[in-house]
């Protein structure tokens, strides 16, 4: 635990990529196989399941520090991080202990999580009295207080991070893989592939992972996804458009469809098996040949037209969709690439060759049916025509175009130059800041989460929340202004007078009955602070309604 906590601290303290890689490499080189497996598991953003309900952590923190609930909440609001607040309030050792990471997990964390989920289950099952439930919470909380006392502040903090789920220590999967690769000598791309899909953090897994020859393949294993970069400004001036094929860029769920050993596996980009969620796709795939892996997008689709992402969202949330939902939001798998053909990895083949393979595939009648399609491909002789096509994307229910180099192979991760994405210019509006909340992470404690409103007659109607886009200096100024101008507080939410105007950009609009404004916006972000504008100059809700299509 000590070493892993120190690794966390080193990663947290530096912004230099090389230092981070070095810190991880050094960790892997001294850790036991089990410890390394767990460290890798957490660094990649995985969490222990089930995680501990945060109410237990809050209760334990209050219990250990002997503070009332409001004081805990007030402090948590200021600190902005639950794991940190609880760790800092707790009493414990002043020096680190001797326990290894896997001991901490096996002997402390997992038993706690198990008894927590056990008590959760019995509460649900037997409609326990609320007294009994409180008692169970209390007993879990006092166990946690006892556990905290074994560790020093840093260990407690990391321990809590593991309890609450995400480590979030600012290393990408790519960086972690790079460090691992430098240490064990297996190339990053190969490691990436070996780590795809679901795996248990065990010594056996880790040994197989870093061994020169891989021996652990399973039929379900997907390939690492190839990702696109935004098309850089001025790219069109120096490059020939004829080298590229273009496709619509869809706002759906990126997925990989694996057909092996007579079975179908549908994987999300987050490497989660989507088993059972999209039965119509799995059914359609049954006729596809074995030894086939397709890359594509799951889209809500009806009458030859893609449905809004908000509709598809209803499907994502359902593990086993009912008949009604299946009827309301039918989906389709739009295949746009082929990674394995007749059991052979074809990712090194040029895009145009893979595309021919995809088109000539024996689809057994599946393609063009209800749930399976191939993407449309365009080619252009000049960039102007391409951009013109791109700007009609919204009419086709798409976000823009994907550009794929004719001779490009199927790369691992975000490699520059293979795939580009070119989105339609986003919508923008000038909106008034009306509520603010303290942020998390690097902005913990600062007012950096804002709610914006637009005018409707003489009222301001909240319509979007935005977190990103301002510089640190701007956030500091806005933060101070909010502290000095708060009119009312609703728990953590501060209401401020209508003064600050900011320009917001967003990707898309949909009608929504869940929002006060009647409109749901996708990916709202701040473009700039319009200090030249007064609240009265901000846009009106009707302006934005006009942007709604159809």
């Amino acid at each position: 635990m000590r070493e892993f906590a120190k690794l966390y601290q080193r990663l947290d303290e530096t912004t230099k990529t090389n230092d981070k890689v070095l810190a991880m490499r050094e960790y892997f080189s001294q850790a036991s196989g089990t410890d390394a497996a767990y460290a890798l598991y957490f660094l990649l953003g995985n969490k222990l399941k089930p995680s501990l309900p945060t109410r237990i952590i809050r209760r334990a923190a209050r219990l250990g520090a002997e503070v009332p609930e409001w004081l805990f909440e007030e402090t948590y609001q200021w600190v902005g991080d639950l794991a940190e607040t609880a760790a800092a309030m707790a009493k414990g050792r002043s020096h680190g202990g001797q326990e290894t990471l896997s001991e901490t997990i096996a002997e402390r964390l997992l038993p706690l999580l198990r008894s927590a989920s056990g008590s959760q289950r019995s509460t649900r099952k037997s409609s326990l009295s609320s007294d009994r439930r409180m008692e169970m919470d209390e007993s879990l909380a006092s166990t946690l207080v006892e556990l905290w006392s074994r560790y020093d502040l840093l260990e407690r903090f990391v321990f809590n991070k593991l309890l609450t789920g995400n480590l979030r220590v600012g290393v990408s999967a790519k960086l972690v893989t790079k460090a691992l690769s430098q240490w064990c000598g297996v190339p990053s791309e190969e490691l990436c592939h070996r780590m795809m899909g679901e795996w248990e953090p065990s010594e056996t897994f880790f040994k197989q992972l870093v061994a020169p020859e891989y021996s652990g393949s399973s039929p379900a294993k997907p390939y690492p996804f190839c990702l696109a970069h935004p098309l850089p400004q001025g790219y069109s001036e120096e490059n020939s458009v004829v080298d590229f094929f273009a496709e619509w860029k869809w706002d759906g769920i990126r997925a990989q469809l694996v057909r092996r050993a007579g079975r179908t596996y549908l994987w999300s980009r987050g490497e989660e098996l989507l088993e059972g969620r999209f039965p119509e796709i799995e059914l359609a795939a049954e006729v596809l040949p074995d030894g086939l892996v397709l890359d594509g997008e799951v889209l809500g689709f009806r009458d030859g037209e893609p449905l809004a992402f908000t509709l598809l969202q209803r499907r994502i949330q359902r593990r086993k969709p009912g008949v009604k939902l299946l009827g309301e939001v039918p989906v389709v798998f739009t295949a746009f690439d082929i990674l394995e053909h007749e059991g052979k990895d074809v990712r090194q083949e040029a895009y145009q060759k893979r595309r021919r393979l995809l088109e000539s595939l024996d689809w057994g009648g599946a393609c063009g049916g209800q749930a399976m399609r191939i993407s449309e491909v365009f080619s252009f002789s000049d960039w102007g025509a391409l951009f013109q096509k791109r700007d009609t994307a919204r009419e086709h229910g798409s976000e823009g175009l994907m550009l794929k180099h004719r001779h490009g192979r199927y790369d691992v991760g975000r490699v520059t130059g293979t795939w580009w994405k070119s989105k339609v210019t986003p919508y923008t509006v000038d909106a008034v800041l009306v509520y603010a909340q303290r942020g998390h992470g690097r902005r913990a404690g600062m007012f950096s989460d804002y709610t914006f409103a637009l005018w409707e007659e003489d009222r301001l109607v909240p319509f979007a929340k935005a977190y990103s886009g301002l510089s640190d200096q701007e956030i500091t100024r806005v933060d101070r202004w909010i502290k000095e101008n708060t009119q009312k507080k609703f728990g953590p939410v501060h209401e401020v007078p209508a003064v600050l105007v900011m320009e917001l950009a967003f990707e898309n609009l949909q009608e929504s009955s869940r929002h006060k404004s009647g409109i749901a916006v996708r990916f709202p972000r701040i473009v700039r602070w319009r200090e030249d504008k007064r609240a009265g100059d901000a846009d009106r809700l009707e302006d934005i309604r006009k942007m709604l299509k159809g």
Partner: protein, 348 residues
Amino acid sequence: MFRDLLECTPRGLYCPAGDFYVDPWASVDCAILTHAHADHARSGSKRYLSAKSSESLLRVRLGQSIDLQTVAYGESLRIKDARVSLHPAGHILGSSQVRIEVAGRVALITGDYKLQSDLTCDAWEPVRCDLMVSESTFGLPVFRWPETRLVIQEMIGWWEENQRQGRTSLLLAYSVGKAQRVLAEIFRECGVEVASKVAVHGAMLGPNRAYVSAGVALPELPSAASLGGQHDWSESLVIGPPSTQSTPWMERFSDPSIAMASGWMAIRGTRRRRNVERGFVLSDHVDWPDLLTAIGQCQPEQVWVTHGFSEVVSRYLTECGTAAEVLQTRFAGEESEPTLAEKSEEAS
């Protein structure tokens, strides 16, 4: 009910019975100063009173020519109808709590204070009182200071690691108080021999001399600027005020590792916002447990809470059975976390 004792006025805390102010923020006739930090000691008043050990620092900060009367800790003084004495606050050299007694009622103004030991100043003393005016800079239960010795050992470990890598160790610390405390602790741990590898920012030379003249043992240290362009910084520990971060002054050092010593370093968010590689949790203020201990030992009937998380602390005290209220100061109050620049004490 403490009207004769203390009043909160636009110029600061005022004692009507004695016709004087404590740490006023405007010019007045008679000002008692708790300590030499800029947010407490302001120039422009006619006459000042402070603890004897504060004199050298105050003259560095406010000028040699100020009209300053000093008293020893514990020495009682009559000012009009008030009886006044100063008691160590443990914050920095010469820092005092002000005890004011009028008609048998006692008020205690803590100024800034801490209970942790400090080699460079007298230790805080509990003073029984009816009304206590307490700061609350770190008045949240997440603030629990680690032992000073552990922090200093960690700091030395950081310095040694940097020496191995040939990097300058640049420690940001307030010029008055924190810098001298850190230096004294480091020399105690490592011996004064290491002084040859230590330099300070020019703004610290005056305060260092003031400490030495008040009897604190500190070796003579050069300013970084006086060491010239050819100096080898690869093994150096340099102490600079927080405001020097990303200024040209820093460019002279070889690939510096930048750290900061402050109570705010206890929280990851404030540490990351400061953009320092390392944060050492070292404060000259009371943490949460010590704040409660101090109030418990002084046994006031009522507490006025100021400077920091006043709302939180006063609500908590009230719930625990001690009458408390927020003392409105001209500082923005608890909502605004004092930016470190505001708290920093730059002589320059």
